[in-house]
Amino acid sequence: MQFFFEILIGGLLSGVMYSLVALGFVLIYKASGVFNFAQGAMVYFAALSVVGCMEKGAPLWLALILAFFIMLLFGMATEKFVLRKMVNQTPISLFMATIGLTFFVEGFAPLVWGHSVRGLDIGIVDEPIESVLDSLGIVVSRFDLVAALIAGLLVTGLALFFQYTRVGRALRAVADDHQAALSIGIPLERIWAIVWGVAGFVALVAGMLWGARNGVQFALTFTALKALPVLILGGFTSVPGAIVGGLIIGASEKLAEVYIPPVMQAMFGGNFGGIEGWFPYVLALLFLLVRPEGLFGEKHIDRV
């Protein structure tokens, strides 16, 4: 039982890391209807920028601020040079454009900052928390817990920002209806630029945590693939959906990885590890068959 809880907690905490990436997707999709495949590449770019600035001699806090401005600029440039030129095209075209953007960033980021694998030290050690280990006998990583806390803070901050600031209100208006928002004088283009900036910020936080955990390397772009099932499970348009989806995916993925392969091995023989790659997708797919718009997504009504 102890083992079960250990895996469950580990899964939930790593699920929070998936949520972080999924959050970036949700923000942009909500505000501009663009399914931004480049979010994973942005995570990579952000992490590389932090490491790159630190290599140039900047301390961590300065590197983070610099990276934040780089991501802000990048987001705004994307909005201005790519998406604004594609207004009125089908969502699929926009999606493809972000795949193009993914390739661009995957080439651009290492070109500027170098492509070698580097570590990122943000001052939190990845070791079990002793008090929990002593009292319950469960290994809980301190790093994961801190990461979860940061994610929680980020989500609360974003929720407050959306709820109580002027810009946040404008963002929600744009998300609801572009045309109506435009007609009451909300500057659509500026709002989109802000959204891309915020998504860049989320990517920076995700990149920092993932980078500190696994090293800053090209594999960071694959975080997008981890976030996609979270996204369809929680619904493309829902911030709480991204969090709950992340928790479900994280926990079930780790549990499945431990408990399913032995069963399959008993049935067929051979080695069946590595189901983490597809299990979240199949799980999300099964959820979709029951709720086609995800757990918290907006119900889509078709009119002829």
Binding site: V82, S93, M96, I99, G107, L225, L228, G277, A284, L285
Partner: protein, 358 residues
């Protein structure tokens, strides 16, 4: 002046409905086929066959398959490489396990098996749409590749699932040289492309397009959504499956499951975007573009860095290539969202008037 249909009268329904209604187009097509079947084998070098022409035809076939699903039936799929893998592995297993089965039959059966798997993974499309479906097709991509790696029976117990394609022997003739393989692939692709063209012109294709344009409306006027969507998945996967079998047997010779990665799926997707979504011609143009672009950049970039005397190392060049690739895709989507096939159409319109202004 030369490209006009003036004076070409149609006197029968058959003449009115043919694929190429203008005589100049028909002549052009005959010339093109003659060049492909006769001219190219005479002049092309071995490198051209095995590095450019054969992959071009195979990818064009796969792009054609994806175009049927995405361009004609409107179901975005990110799993085409997985269906290619199914085709390749199925064809391999038919060759391996059934004594004396003709190779062409096992190619076809490979396609049929891929179609079956396609129907299975197409089932969610009855309930989910758009991006949700696109992500769901990723389930197919990852699951199929994982299965091929983990079930040793599928790859005849070879380590990490690598298979080596058997020899291609048709009526006692062994297709060994690149030239032979090219002709074989060309023949299959031409037949299948013709079939696809006719399919999308006919009843099935129209129902696909009706569902693409608005599925609720299509359902109301009497199209059966389930049948339409699933036939689209089946036909699309069949094409991808055959392309996969050819990929293994005629192009690479030995393949592993990881070769059919998400990256390959994206490559095929890019082909239809750049070539033209919902266009048979576009699949070919797009495949040519995506295949030739890296070759071109390979040649151009080092030459460019040399003339400008910039010190650029190999890694940087590959990064710049990726960048240019991504930038070009965005550029095309902004400038010509209907793809290169649309440019060809515009050119034809202009040609009809040339050299007069009206």
């Amino acid at each position: 002046m030369f490209y006009r249909e003036a004076g070409q009268f149609k006197t029968s329904y058959g003449a009115d409905q043919q694929i190429l209604p203008i005589r100049q187009d028909r002549i052009g097509m005959v010339v093109l086929l003659a060049v492909a079947f006769l001219g190219v084998p005479m002049f092309a070098s071995e490198y051209w066959f095995s590095a450019i022409l054969i992959p071009f035809l195979i990818f064009a076939l796969a792009a054609l398959g994806l175009n049927i699903l995405t361009g004609y039936a409107g179901q975005l799929s990110l799993g085409s490489a997985a269906f290619m893998a199914v085709g390749a592995y199925a064809a391999y297993n038919f060759q391996l396990r059934i004594e004396g089965i003709p190779i062409l039959v096992s190619f076809l059966l490979g396609g049929v098996v891929a179609a079956g798997v396609g129907i299975l993974f197409g089932l969610p499309s009855l309930r989910i749409k758009g991006f949700y479906l696109a992500v769901a097709t990723l389930a197919a991509q990852f699951f199929i590749v994982w299965c091929l790696t983990k079930f040793p029976w599928l790859s005849n117990n070879s380590s990490s699932g690598v298979i080596s394609a058997q020899k291609i022997i048709i009526f006692g003739h062994e297709f060994n040289s690149p030239q032979d393989k090219y002709l074989l692939v060309l023949g299959i692709v031409v037949v299948l492309a013709l079939a696809a063209k006719n399919l999308v012109r006919g009843n099935v294709g129209r129902s696909w397009m009706a569902v693409r344009d608005m599925d609720v409306a299509a359902e109301v006027i009497g199209f059966r959504i389930m049948r339409t969507k699933l036939t689209a998945f089946a036909v699309s996967s069949f094409y991808c499956g055959v392309a996969g079998a050819l990929y293994a047997f005629c192009y690479l010779g030995s393949v592993e499951p990881d070769g059919f990665s998400l990256e390959l799926s994206f490559k095929i997707l890019f082909m239809i975007i750049i070539g033209g979504v919902g266009s048979i011609l576009g699949s070919f143009v797009g495949a040519a573009f995506i295949l030739l672009l890296p070759v071109l950049l390979d040649v151009l970039l080092p030459a460019l860095s040399e003339t400008l005397s910039l010190p650029v190392d190999g890694a940087s060049i590959s990064h710049i290539q990726t960048m240019i690739f991504g930038a070009l895709i965005m550029f095309f989507l902004i400038v010509e969202p209907h793809g290169l096939a649309r440019l060809w159409q515009i050119a034809k319109e202009k040609l009809r008037l040339w050299p007069f202004p009206h």
